[in-house]
Amino acid sequence: MLIDRGYTEVRPLAGGLDAWVDAGYPVEELSE
């Protein structure tokens, strides 16, 4: 969908949020 809108540099994050947390990188708390 993003590519259809003209965005050319769209990349998914391998492993998603779980991989980011597993690597011990910082996260922010979401507000309600």
Binding site: L2, R5, G6, T8, L17, D18, A23, E28, L30
Partner: protein, 270 residues
């Protein structure tokens, strides 16, 4: 030769239905619907019992789904990665399938088996949401009954055509066995190929967490989009620092209204 095979199917029909349905529901790329349709046709001709075929299909499905439900409950959403690896169905691994569960909750188990991909991921998602086991078993059993029942009913309805097809296969002897084995092998190969292409595409484009951290540390500031479903975010109220939260296509479009098309964008799910 094939009449020996059909005799075996008639003799072990209910057990074969059980094994086939269990294998499909646990994630093996072996479709169970053709077996259920043939079993339905044989039942219409009085050679098998519809009640036993249905009971065995529902129990096999419930057993396999319950295993995934328990694994989902124990390991959370991580179990979906294992499931995606063995199921050979890339459509199981996209976030849209998860959105069905967020939208319909446990009721989605009533129709999950009719949607390719969703059928496999619904039970572990139900487990990951820590849904009630009794509620899961009830909805899943009713869903399995509708799914297996419709295939058996189709077999009963078209029993005459299926009977003719079986007769023709029987006349072909060993060639029929080779033909059926080739069709199954082709289905497995196509699923494997489809998955290979899907992962190849992903591998080319994916960015690792270490790459993203380095980019952020260097101050490159790519647009980071948190595209998890609302339900996923509710279950894990965290995000990568500075990530923009956007669930549906409209929300994504609205958030990116002022972002130039040349900007690097990194998306993440759970």
């Amino acid at each position: 030769m094939l009449h020996h095979l059909i005799a075996l199917i008639l003799h072990y029909g209910v057990a074969l239905v059980f094994v086939n349905v269990f294998a499909e529901q646990i994630g093996a790329p072996i479709p169970a619907v053709p077996t259920l349709i043939i079993a339905g046709a044989l039942a219409r001709n009085g050679e098998l019992s519809s009640t036993w075929v249905l009971t065995s299909a529902v129990i096999a499905s419930l057993l396999a789904d319950w295993i995934w439900f328990v694994l989902g409950r124990r390991y959370g959403y991580r179990i979906l990665r294992t499931l995606c690896r063995i199921s050979l169905s890339p459509d199981s691994c996209v976030r849209e399938t998860e959105a069905y569960f967020d939208r319909w909750g446990m009721k989605s188990l009533l129709f999950a088996k009719f949607i390719p991909g969703f059928s496999t991921v619904a039970p572990p998602i139900a487990g990951a949401t820590r849904a009630s086991t009794i509620q899961f078993l009830i909805y899943d059993a009713v869903g399995a009954f509708f799914w297996a029942g419709s295939a058996v009913a189709a077999g009963r309805l078209f029993h005459s055509a299926i009977g003719k097809l079986l007769k023709r296969l029987e006349d072909l002897g060993w060639w029929a066995v080779i033909f059926v084995a080739s069709v199954i092998a082709l289905i497995v190969f196509l699923k494997w190929w489809q998955r290979l292409q899907f992962y190849k595409k992903l591998r080319v484009a994916r960015v690792t967490v270490d790459d993203l951290k380095s980019m952020l540390d260097r101050g490159e500031s790519p647009i980071v989009l948190d595209v998890r479903t609302a339900g996923s975010r509710k279950r894990n109220m965290q995000r990568i620092p500075s990530a923009i939260v956007a669930s549906g296509p409209e929300e994504v479009a609205a958030q990116l209204e002022r972002v130039p098309p040349s900007s690097p964008i990194i998306l993440y799910c759970t």
